[in-house]
Structure formats: structure tokens, C-alpha cells
Assembly symmetry: C2
Homo-oligomer: 163 residues x 2
DNA sequence: GATAATAGGTCAGTATTATTGACTCATCGG
DNA sequence: CCGATGAGTCAATAATACTGACCTATTATC
């Protein structure tokens, strides 16, 4: 009886609300700073993932953001023009343009990160480590298996790209 | 030393990833159906919250979605024209247009809900009840306090708006 | 009862983020 | 050599959002 509400429906509906509001308020945390700089959330997402996986290719970034080449072109062009992102030819495959943050881009990303950290860190401290573990397990279970695999295959260098 | 990376930074960065990917794949679940119907995610969000809080006012919906009147006008106009949403004058305040789903709108919302349920319910079952509790506690802690209060003040009638 | 404030709607113009489709160029791999 | 891939680009369009101004109906206040 797939169309009949069962005892799990209310948990799923509650989760829909949680996902919407937490994501809304989370993304909002960096908006003020972005607006001051004349950048949008798309720029922030690109900065975040390039900082998280320095040396990634354009194709990888397209796959993460799930947008088209044309959409990324504008955002990436802005960031390169502003001196936040540098592109270097790939060593093994010289067609590739490996993406990384410039020192200036890393500093900007850090400032944006601090805004979201100011929201997330107290939340995790308040909820406690067990809650965070449950949060992580649940969020991972929500993802596509392919997304999960990609995350697991990613080395965690993002918190050291400044040094 | 607010600009110095500490031991919590990696957890915050991991959480940024979790929020982005889980939200991306979660919202994606309903996209195929929405495209068939010629509707967008904005329409889905409106349907969801109207179904969740039948009788809500336009101002309340604007506050939840955090968009402007003009942005909502298009979406709400579409839904009313298509017969998915009905507006009735408020009893106490006749300036208000109380929003509710028509039977047809409830049926559409249910179909969209089923897509997301197909993704969320197995995820919660796999993660387990303790993980879900941690997920809920953490997501609530991420929100603005005002958002949390609003959620707590909302009667949970959304899973019964069909009957 | 006049008046201010609110709920909602609407018009005109613009910005951001995204799309599709076609095309070029350089490079890689068999 | 030649097909496939990585990346960039041009042109046109769509979805979602914005600002600012203005209007009506109704409620609340002085």
C-alpha cells in the first residue's frame, strides 16, 4: 500500500522541514559577506570545493556542483579574474586545468568559512558528539551511493590549504 | 585566535560537505516528476509548506520561504491557476487569504512526497533511530533560534491533510 | 469618523543562476 | 591517423529571484 500514510510518514515530513530550514539558515550565514563582495552563493560553492580538493579538474567540479559548463564558466571566470582561483595545466594530462585557490582566494574562503563555522561549531557543541555522529551517518545515508563513494575517496586536505 | 584553524575545523568542513550533498541529492529526488509537470522546486516548496500548515497566510509563507512577494506571486499564481492551491478569506481578518491544498493539490504533493520518502525512509531505517535523533538534534541546533521556535509552534497536521 | 497600518496583489525593470545546442581547440589514446 | 576527451566559447533562453512603486480592502488607532 504505497500510497497509504504509515507511521514513518511523519518522521519523513519532519525531516523535510529540518533539511529545508537547516540548509536555509546555514547557507544564509555567509550571505552578508558575499553581498559586500558582489559575489553569489555559486561563487562560494566553487571556492569551497576548490579549497577542499586543491588540484581538482574542471570536470570534477562540474560533477560535484551538478551544473553545466556554461554556468560554471561565468562563476569560474569571475573568480579567476578577481585572482581568487588559479588554473595550472595538468602534469599527466595537459588538457586539464587543475584548479586551486590563490593565497588571496584562500583568505577569502577562510573568511566565508568563519561565518558558517560561527553557526555550525556552537550547534555541534550543543548537540554533542553522539548527535553529530548520528547527523553524519544520517546525512551520508541520504546521499546517492555514488556521492558517498566520492566523498570517501576524497583526501581531507581542505583544512590545510592555507598553510 | 579566531582565524587560527583548530581541531573543530575539520568537523565543520565535513559538515559543509554533508549539508551540500545530502540536500542536493534530497531535492533531486523529486526533480524528474516536477519536470514532467512543468513545475520547479519553488512550486514544490510552496506545496509542501501549504500542505504542512493548511490555513496559513501568505505572509507566513513568505517568511518561511524567505523570498519576496513578487517571487511568490508567480509560483502561487501558477498553483492557483492549475487548481492545486485554494485561497479562502480569513475568518477573523478578512484581508488574509488562507492557503490550503485542493484535493488535486494534495494528491500532487503526495506524489512528490513519495519520491522523497523513497530516499529518506530507507536512509533513516539504515542509520537507525539513535542516528535519526542525533540528526534531528543537530539540524535543529543549526537553525536560527527563531526558526526553531516557529517549528515548535507549528501543529503537525501535514501528514493528515489528505484525509 | 478620519487616518495610519497591515494583508495582499500588481506593474515594470533587472540580476543571478541555470539551461540547451553548436562549435572550436588542444591533447590523449589506441 | 583519428576518435574521444578536457576545456573554453558563442548565442539564445528559462527559472528564480530582486527592487521600487503603486493600488485596494480591511483592520486598528487616535
Amino acid at each position: 500500500m504505497p500510497d497509504m500514510p504509515d507511521s514513518h510518514d511523519s518522521a519523513v515530513r519532519r525531516a523535510q522541514d529540518l533539511l529545508f530550514f537547516a540548509y536555509r539558515d546555514f547557507t544564509n550565514a555567509a550571505d552578508v559577506l558575499l553581498e559586500e563582495l558582489g559575489l553569489g552563493r555559486a561563487h562560494h560553492r566553487a571556492l569551497h570545493f576548490i579549497g577542499r580538493r586543491p588540484g581538482m579538474t574542471v570536470t570534477e567540479l562540474l560533477g560535484i556542483l551538478r551544473i553545466t559548463k556554461q554556468s560554471l564558466a561565468r562563476v569560474l571566470g569571475d573568480l579567476v579574474t578577481l585572482g581568487h582561483v588559479a588554473q595550472t595545466p595538468g602534469g599527466a594530462d595537459r588538457r586539464q586545468r587543475l584548479l586551486r585557490l590563490t593565497p588571496q582566494g584562500a583568505e577569502l574562503e577562510q573568511r566565508l568559512f568563519d561565518r558558517q563555522k560561527a553557526r555550525l561549531a556552537p550547534a555541534f557543541a550543543q548537540a554533542g558528539p553522539d548527535a553529530f555522529a548520528g547527523f553524519e551517518a544520517t546525512m551520508r545515508a541520504i546521499m546517492d551511493p555514488a556521492t558517498r563513494d566520492m566523498l570517501d575517496a576524497t583526501p581531507e586536505t581542505g583544512d590545510r590549504h592555507v598553510g
